[in-house]
Symmetry: none
Subunit: 428 residues, 2 copies
């Protein structure tokens, strides 16, 4: 088991041990908002450019956002409040799940979404409250069942789908089973039934030369699920044993739907998610947003926004490709994606939102080719009540000088609600 | 009991009542970092100018740092990220212990180092895990043992050492005893043995006209230690009774080695401390740094840094005299000390650190002649991934406009680790 895996377990165990404590604190957090939020005839739009934040390619030069030609965002910035949001903490790089939870107002260190559930959300699988989901890997074992390749030679996705089809034939008593291909050697396994528990160990030994581990219960209530999992693995082994490369599986990241408090309840917001990628639709559904299916482009999203404008209080619009190009390490392509979003701004403003937020869930600097910890440029446009910055455009440097300063990303929702006239006074 | 004493006791009682709670939360904090930190072939240098922060001598004028001629730091500032760190909280003035714990990433309100242990560290006494240490004061009592001077007329340090030598003859069964002179009327008493407890009251009544208090156990497990302490005090009284001034002792700040989590464990950093003064070497050893002994000057420290560069990931370099001159109230002398450190910067940069931090553990404004609560100028140089400030030099005013903004000092270590490529992503 690698250090990171051990750490993961320790973290989860500690999180469980202090569960009561944390729940009390979280409840307390939202209890204040539950008490103070009120309804109003106002509209909020949260436009997320995934991985928006960046760093200069050359020392002293502009970031991706600063080098992009964004006349609409620049004009809007002058009339808006700018700041830099910190998704989790100084120096901490968020994954997509924690990054979005923070934007939605949920402390991502308190509200954990297990990897199995995230993986299921990522392919658009709807996880029910009683489900237990795991991420599966195909792997290669030798005659003694010792793992020789933990990723089965990175088989192509088509092969993955073909094998998953075979695994769908496995039946285990008292449980409904779903197997879904993800990408390459990865798949999702979901058990649906009564009294299932995700408190199971991971079967990947995290190194070659060892057998896959047996599934064991990590809590009293998990014995039944462990037995089901072992039965399923044994059957999968039988089905796969003739395969050259993908002749065994490992399972990890056992998780249940996290049961997050919902937008309607804590914010009194009827919210709609307008996203293209399954992961973000899934995350939005976890916090109680209605998810509009079938959107394939920013154009679709803008049309849907206009069409549904009267039916919702809050819209989450997600744009993925800024992050993708950052991950590619393509500085100019990321700037070009930002320009595409910039071109959509006038159509957004035509709807006259009371609050429009333009931000990211984290930074993805092209020079780093990955998510990073850098604070995220944030623009909050609230024509009625805003204080103004002395800025000329939208960029990291301008945001640093903005009236919002640096602030925790979880504070963005209270700010949005306040500027939309949706939070009443605390205390007399 | 004075108000300040009452407050102290209340605080200690509350701290004890919520002991378990705090431990759990702290564990959780570091559990996140334990999970996320990874190793990398990168070097971090933390250069601490003690008490660096200051305030202007004349309204609107420069601070000590701003008035100092610091061409090297100014040049570095342009290529770095600046900010102001808050050691504990707005308005809270840190002692040396809390100030450094915060820089090392340990919440100084959660991780308390008792005064007895701090005093022992300050004279270079190595406190073992089973030791109980107290700070002792010589005092003057009359024939009825009523205290007439709580500081024994501030006897000179030589006299203190002479009396400590006599007190070293005291034997108490089942415990090894160390007595060490500190300064003037102050000494350190250390009990070493099995099952000792520091949960004892202070014997100083905090005002004259009263007898020194008896030592009483504040917890079930402290009765044995209380009895030992009372025996030792009775023997000390016998030895001292012929003295004119220092004819009695009081004891306070009973404490054990705090058992802090270690740098190697929580950050995966092999760290070396390059400090001249015992207190800072002691603090560094509490967090698991290797301490290089025998350094007497900044020159020694720089030579050691170069000599040990390949053997460590992290170096803590401590410079004391900025604080000393601030405490003296000598504005120009403090600026001159900053200039001496500035002259050393090129030799530091020659080593090509991946991250170089220049900061202080707290402010010591010369006009205040003492530690203060003012946020501390901080420079973080990370050539690969930094966002840039629009600044022209290193000073409090420039730091206020820096990209790091104002931030809690405990966040400096996560930032350093992130910029050194030593923190992996949180969540998927």
């Amino acid at each position: 088991m690698t250090r990171s895996e051990t750490g993961n377990w320790e973290w989860i165990c500690v999180a469980r041990l202090v569960g009561t404590l944390l729940e009390v604190r979280c409840m307390a957090d939202f209890t204040l908002l539950r008490e103070l939020t009120t309804t109003a005839d106002t509209k909020i739009v949260l436009l997320v450019m995934d991985g928006l934040g960046g760093v200069p390619k050359e020392p002293g030069g502009p970031t991706e956002l600063e080098s992009a030609h964004t006349p609409n965002l620049d004009r809007l910035a002058v009339e808006s409040m700018l700041g830099l949001s910190i998704p989790i903490g100084h120096g901490i790089t968020p994954g997509s799940g924690p990054g979005h939870l923070a934007l939605f107002g949920y402390d991502p260190v308190k509200f954990l979404i297990g990897r199995g559930v995230l993986e299921a959300l990522g392919i658009g699988f709807e996880v029910a409250p009683d489900d237990v989901a795991a991420r599966g890997n195909f792997c290669t074992v030798d005659d003694n069942l010792l793992i020789t390749d933990r990723r089965a030679g990175r088989i192509p996705t088509e092969k993955c789908a073909e094998l998953v089809n075979k695994l769908r034939t496995i039946r285990v008593p008292q449980v409904e089973i779903f197997v879904e291909p993800v990408q390459d050697y990865r798949f999702v396994l979901v058990f649906r039934g009564k009294n299932l528990s995700p408190r199971l160990n991971e079967t990947d030994p995290q190194r070659t030369g060892h057998q896959a581990l047996e599934v064991k219960a990590q809590a009293e209530d998990a014995h039944k699920t462990a037995e089901m999992a072992n039965r399923w693995i044994a059957a999968a082994r039988e089905i796969l044993k003739g395969e050259q490369r993908a002749n065994m599986v490992t399972l990890r990241g056992w998780a249940k739907e996290p049961g997050l408090p919902k937008f309607t309840d804590i914010y009194r917001l009827k919210a709609q998610a307008l996203a293209v990628y399954p992961m973000y639709k899934g995350l939005a559904s976890l916090v109680g947003m209605d998810v509009l299916q079938g959107l394939r482009s920013l154009g679709d999203q803008l049309r849907a926004l206009k069409a549904n404008w009267e039916d919702y209080d809050f819209f989450f619009v997600h744009y993925k490709y800024t992050d993708s190009r950052g991950e590619d390490g393509n500085f100019e392509a990321k700037a070009a994606e930002i320009e595409k979003v910039d071109a959509a701004i006038p159509r957004l403003l035509d709807l006259k939102p009371d609050v429009l937020i333009v931000t990211g869930d984290h930074s993805t600097p092209a020079v780093w080719k990955a998510h990073s910890w850098h604070p995220v440029p944030t623009l909050l446009y609230a024509p009625r009540l805003g204080r103004r910055n002395e800025v000329k455009g939208f960029g990291e440097t301008q945001c640093q000088a903005g009236v919002l300063g640096q602030f925790p990303a979880v504070d963005l929702m209270p700010l949005a609600l306040a500027y939309a006239g949706r939070i009443t006074k605390f205390g007399a």
